[in-house]
Amino acid sequence: MAERGASADRLVRHALVDRLFHWLMAACVLVLLGTAFLPIMGLDFPWVAAHWIAGFILTAIVVFHTVRAAFWQDLKSMWIGGADLRAAIDTAAYSLRLSGRLPVNSGKYSFAQKLIHHLFTLVLLVAIVTGLLMMVRIDTPWWDRNPFWLAQATWGVVYVLHGLAALSLITMIICHIYFALRPEKRLFMRAMILGWIRREEYRNYHDDRR
């Protein structure tokens, strides 16, 4: 975690650009889910344009995040290694009262945080790739629709994957918001809003060596 921009008591956990990415991505995903599922639930409105525009914005910012993470950030901080798996097993054993040993502190991200990040990565990539393919089937300012670009059976698989990704996002977002709001996790939500955590919180939750 960076010292730059931090005060004596505060450490920067998330730079402004990363926080903007997170919240813009959240807004895009909520618009996408709303425009996908509200019409299915009976709320009829012209949803197609809002859906694909939000999808395009989501695609653009995910590409931006991927490039930034690859070249300007520390990819290792999100890697799940053997130490993370051992820590996860220790945490599970402690939580289930199978062991009295307190779990070790994590690096910048805990095993659970890395896991949900990778799950969102997988699900969003499936949604984006299939969504981009489905764009061929609608009229946009740049091309006319062509529903025959893929075979009917192949379109079916594309639609299944897109739908499965969208449905999975519902469960994942409910869990993500719940854990973000839990009292012991609110420091991480505050860091995603304001950018910083306190030094004392850093010492309590993180291990410098990881």
């Binding site: 402690y94 079916g156 739908g163 999975s168 469960t171």
Partner: protein
């Protein structure tokens, strides 16, 4: 409950259309179940360090 939406061609062959939207409530319920189970566990059963 169906897992998939399927239509038929004029020749009667099934054509996959996508996931069944009945599953919307399954995935929503799964998320709520995780929240409730964890909240109960955290309130009454989790070890206090």
């Amino acid at each position: 409950m169906e897992l998939f939406r399927v239509t038929r061609t004029v020749y009667g062959q099934p054509v996959l259309q996508g996931m069944s939207w009945d599953l919307l409530w399954v995935f929503f319920g799964l998320g709520v179940a995780v929240v409730v189970i964890h909240a109960v566990y955290a309130r009454w059963f989790a070890p206090k360090p």
